[in-house]
């Protein structure tokens, strides 16, 4: 009984008044503010999902140096690191193809990255990264293979705009200290790393 008497009608009316005012305010969003809000939402929706750079993604990479540039390649594309005893050059080969070497009794083409980036190859004799998906496809000549580390996507920057066009597809990100992260699948699919040295011009 006492509780019925205890209703503070004034307070209740004041609260209703505030709610009504707030409701009215919400309806009267200025056109600019509304369109800005909608634009913001549209942008949010239109943004492509970017798992490549999703925060917190860790990937394991092999870091190496070739022709003075430091690179990193995801370790799932690196099958082995070997030091070949010899690399036999092929007549008429382009600068990217250093020659052939033997790996487990089979022939492995040895390639240089620098020509793909529009630079001259150096005559380094460092270890080869044996690159491939399921089987060895290419031996990438390096000056030095540095380490295998984990890279967090949060630490990555977009690749530099100064990169030569023909190399843009090969790099998906860069690190603050200038290391270029190579896209393994693009590297393996690059037409410049499949060679057809015909007899033309020689016969």
């Amino acid at each position: 009984m006492a509780s019925l008497k205890g209703i503070d009608w004034d307070a209740a009316r004041a609260r209703l008044g505030r709610l009504a005012a707030a409701h009215e305010e919400g309806d009267t969003l200025s056109p600019e503010a509304a369109s800005a809000l909608l634009d913001e939402r549209a942008r949010e929706l239109a943004r492509p999902p970017s798992p490549e750079l999703a925060p917190g993604t860790l990937r394991e990479v092999v870091r190496f140096r070739a022709a003075g540039q430091r690179y990193a390649l995801e370790s799932r594309f690196v099958l082995e690191v070997v030091r070949p005893s010899e690399v036999v050059p092929l007549p008429g080969a382009p600068p990217a193809l250093r020659g052939l070497t033997l790996l487990h009794g089979g022939v492995l083409p040895v390639v240089e990255l620098a020509p793909l980036f529009g630079r001259a190859p150096t005559n380094s004799t460092g270890p080869l990264l044996v690159v491939g998906k399921d089987q060895p496809e290419l031996g990438v000549r390096t000056e030095e293979v540095e380490e295998v580390t984990l890279v967090s996507s949060q630490d990555l920057l977009p690749p530099p705009a100064t990169l030569a066009d023909e190399a843009a597809g090969l790099v998906f990100a860069a690190e603050r200290d200038g290391v270029l992260l190579l896209e393994g699948a693009a590297l393996l699919a690059d037409g410049r790393l499949t060679f057809d040295l015909s007899d033309e011009g020689v016969v």
């Binding site: 036999v88 007549p91 033997l102 499949t194 060679f195 057809d196 015909s198």
Partner: protein, 715 residues
Amino acid sequence: MDRDRLAQALLATFLEELEGHVVSLNRDLLALEREQGTPRAPERVASLLRTLHSVKGAARAASASLVETACHRLEEVLEPLRDGRTAPPALYEVCFAAVDALDDAGRRLGAKQELAGSPLEALLPDLERAASGTPAAPPHAPPPPKAPAPQERAPADAPLPPPPPAAGETLPVRVSAQKLDALLYRSGELRVAALRLEGRAETLETVREELVRLREVVRGTEGETALRRAESELARVARELAADRRTLGGVATTVDDEVRRARTLPFVEGCAGLERTARDVARAEGLQVRLEIHGGALELDRSLLQSLREPLLHLVRNAVAHGLETPEARRRAGKPEEGRVSLSARLRGNRVEVTVEDDGRGLDLGALRERARARGLEAPDDDSEAARLAFLSGLSTSAKVTEVAGRGVGLDVVRAEVEALRGTVEVSSREGQGARFTLDVPLTLSTLRVLLVSAGGQTLALASEGVARLVRLSPDEVREVEGRPTWVAGDALVPLASLADVLGLPPGPPRQRRGAVVLEAGTARAALVVDEVVAEQEALVRALGPRVRRARHVAAAAVLPDGRLALLLNPASLVRAAGGRPSASLFPSPATRATRRRLLLADDSPTTRALEQSILEGAGYDVVACADGAEAWERLQASGADALVLDVEMPRMDGIALTEAVRASPRFGRLPIVLVTARGRPEDKARGLQAGASAYLVKSAFDPTSLLETLRRLL
């Protein structure tokens, strides 16, 4: 083989089917017996006949003729019951016994046993009698002998009476060819590693010798004992290493052999399908043929068999369609009506000879000659030469173009395919007695005899079979023809080029006489000048892989026994490239020859002496080689020289003493002297230069260019 497998598969299916049929036969027979005379009986009979018909058909396909006959008889027995007639119990007995016997026959066939002497065979006469007259003549005579039938059944219901002898046998394992190839690569790697170990043992030996020398120096000090200990320890390690190397080498070789063996198949498997082909062609042509395979057990490389399939298929088709006569014609010729085509394989050294022979009419040499002439070709008189015309495109012997045996494209394709295997194909033919094609192919496609040459500082491999000969050319054997160097061979002018030049490698030094390999590709020849012919040996052949689709003048990679890789060159493309090349300087120009310098060379090691002599002569010097300083001094006094190249350590008179003597002589005092030695210490060098040497070269850093460069500077 194919057929056997097919038959095996068919039999397995048949036996599976038979089990079900036996069940339904029993069921229907029982029902019929119960319901005979009722309207449902004909339906049962129809069902029984349907089932028997299926069994009969399947039995025929599986070549189980006894089963087929038995079913046929049973059908005859049951057929009269179709119209609702009743049958005496004896007839049912026979039928049940027959079904049991069928069941038994199925088990026997499954256990690969003959049906001769089986209950089914024993039952056939009874079935026949029952079929001939429904009122069976011996009304109750048959049942007693049928008594064994239920007994037959009893053991069948117990486990299986004839258990296949599968106990102690190991199960065969299916391994893909690719896996075996991968295994072969790995075992090759193992062999190479074992070979390298040999080199390591030699290194250890050198170290040990070094220790011995060192111990001489410290003789009498504390170090001597320590060194002696180290020395014996080293000797022990070397011994153990040598033993391990032998073991490893042996195992590696055995593994390699075993893997290679695992990759082989019997020849007869490579002939799978040929018998069927022969039969089909014969049937289409109204001929009769029997295909024989000899040497079917010969184990051959799988890839070789695969590559031989097409050529053999062509040859068998040809032999039947063009070789064999009609049965009638054969009879007239006094031959059996059935023609014979025989395939045989045998080993000849490291090659395989495969022949395809028929006993037909033989090649029509007259027609071949005619066609050759019609196409403006020479028609050889010699029969064996004429037979070879069959390999030319468009000279098929058969006038009629048949559906099966190609349209005159067969034999030239066969030859191309066999040559791609680095093989040859020959034909011989006797009129009215048949033709014989002989294919000669290397035993394995994965190894090859190669000639190793060096050009432009690179070692290169050439398939030995593509090299016609090796020659040494002097300038007067080479002429310029239309601005191109040409070798005047005895019978022809052969284009000449430098291999280094063709391959775009740096040229070797011009020499007085040049070694050259004469390559042959079809009818074309070319001589390619090389720096050196290194060796001839066996090599593993490896494809360049998917990444290198085509390579200039390079066919594949050759893996040499020491594990090194050499490019295997393509003779055909080299021959094409060699013609049409402007002249390169293969020989020293006449001007340099006119001023040939005379060098006096002294070294007590015959090997080093020969090496240096060849380098110096190669560079265009006249060389007088001497075994020691004293001899060199005499020769110098006798005939003079333009410069001296001397070893330091030599018996009788060493290089230092000779240098001092030359410097002291008024006549030769100003001659350039180059000391070449193994002693690389600064004090040795100082001593040599003090004695008056013009240059001092250390052998460990010895390369021909530094010696030649030094001489060029001094002269």
